[in-house]
């Protein structure tokens, strides 16, 4: 059992946020203004919400509703300008259908941004008071959904942090949790491993189709896409090709069967290991998994990346002791101790699982303490995903 926030729809939250979510970039200032007036509410500012592309509009609607419905969110105030292509009422309806406590304030209906801010402030104070009266109670850890991510990888990521997370993933799945692995760009060259781990032929084929689709999209940018998804930092850290990066990356998934493949930002229906179609961009990938209901992220890094999420606490795992020592204030667990010969994979895996359970019960992560609340959507439209 863990102490968490039980939501009316049966999901459990590990945080109890009141968030201000503009449905369009034009309403950002209202969210920022109110966050200064009402301490504790979280403004999620972003550049999205209005495009000519129907695929992009549908996806943004889904993701915004998913963010509002994340179990870590007590309540959401959507802020619409009123003329944008992502329709505020549709986001509201979708979020409420999924069980979210959600309200909508539309600037053009309120009069101007000042009157909209007043309306949002009033709702914020009400929700913040309500949220403060909700207590953590005994909940089942099997209701946790864990997002896996790796970023700023180096050659050690695949040798220490990712395999340790893989063992932690096996343990968490055996405890009944759902674990989402992602970043299809980092399956190129390692898809045979995931395919062999699929629970059935349908999931196996979906994995292979998704990797093939991603490779085709990458080829639009550059036919020689083998070098595309590997950054200067990866190369500086000793990674040579996308195959090498992928073979290290995929180890986060551990050894349990892939039960399902889900679309970006959508809720998994199965328990166990689930693959989400996200790009390799860390923030875009994490936002997709958080919209899909992940309450906590486990994020490995070799070169050292400090990023977090406005909704889910992100636990950072260093692949090597040099980066851990240099970035101790940004990192939670050191898997470099495996390379140093001081700890075993099982030791670090157990440390990661313990950290997940502590964080689930309120302990802050390094990224939360440092104030990291990065938020980005993948660039999806009628022409495919732009990487």
């Amino acid at each position: 059992m863990i102490k968490a926030y039980l939501r009316p729809n049966g999901t459990i939250g590990v945080r109890n946020h009141v968030i201000l979510l503009p449905t369009v970039v034009c309403a950002n200032a209202v969210a920022e203004t109110v966050s200064r007036r009402v301490p504790g509410v979280i403004p999620i500012v972003h550049p999205y919400g209005c495009t000519l592309d129907p695929v992009a509009n549908t996806e943004m609607t889904t993701v915004f509703a998913g963010i509002a419905e994340n179990p870590n969110v007590y309540a959401t105030i959507l802020i619409s300008l009123g003329c944008e292509t992502v329709i505020g009422e549709e986001v509201l309806e979708k979020a409420r259908q999924m069980g979210a406590k959600c309200e909508l304030v539309t600037v053009q209906d309120e009069g101007d941004t000042f009157s909209a801010a007043d309306a949002v402030e009033k709702l914020s104070i009400g929700f913040t008071r309500e949220a403060a009266s909700v207590q953590r109670i005994d909940c089942c850890e099997a209701d946790l959904v864990i997002a896996l991510e790796c970023g700023a990888s180096d050659a050690f990521s695949g040798l220490s942090a990712n395999p340790a997370v893989g063992r932690a993933s096996d343990i968490m799945i055996d405890m009944g949790m759902t674990v989402i692995i992602s970043e299809i760009t980092e399956y190129l060259g390692a898809e045979h491993i995931a395919a062999a781990q699929a629970c059935d032929d349908e999931v196996r084929q979906r994995i292979l189709d998704l990797v093939a689709k991603t490779e085709e999209e990458l080829a639009v940018i550059d036919q020689d896409c083998g070098l595309l998804d590997i950054t200067p930092g990866n190369i500086g850290g000793g990674l040579t090709t996308i195959e090498e990066k992928s073979l290290g990356c995929i180890r986060k998934g551990g050894s349990r069967p892939y039960m399902e493949v889900v679309e970006y930002g959508k809720r998994p229906r199965k328990k166990g290991l689930v693959l989400m179609d996200t790009p390799g961009h860390d923030i875009q990938s994490l936002t997709g998994m958080v919209a899909g209901g992940a309450q906590i992220g486990v994020f490995t890094t070799g070169r050292g990346t400090p990023t977090g999420s406005p909704i889910a606490p992100i636990i950072k795992i260093a692949s090597n002791s040099t980066v851990f020592n240099r970035m101790q204030r940004n990192i939670d667990v050191n898997a470099g101790s495996i390379i140093d010969g001081d700890k075993s994979f099982d030791d670090v895996a157990q440390e990661i699982v313990s950290k997940v359970l502590e964080v689930a019960q309120g302990k802050l992560t390094a990224s939360e303490i440092a104030g990291h609340r990065e938020f980005a959507l993948r660039c999806m439209g009628s022409l495919g995903c732009i990487y």
Partner: protein, 98 residues
Amino acid sequence: MISLRAILVDPSDNVVTLVQEGRRGDWVVWDEGRVLLNEDIPLGHKVAIYDIPKGRSVVKYGVSIGKATADIRQGDLVHVHNVRSERGKGYSDDKSIS
């Protein structure tokens, strides 16, 4: 004689990963094997433990991570200057690698 540690992930690999920074002339050791470095090799980078002729696979984690674009000698740094990914459309049209 300086001897440095390296990791061999899979017995079929033809590269190891250095866990310390290596200098030309250093010995690198792992499990039952060792190799003499032909050049300086940074932390976390790979060294060939066998000769890898041009066009052959560089193997790590027991599978190919790309093809050698030049003859790689035992003890050489193996990285973007002498390995190329096999992934991506159009690669098969690339005549630079045989």
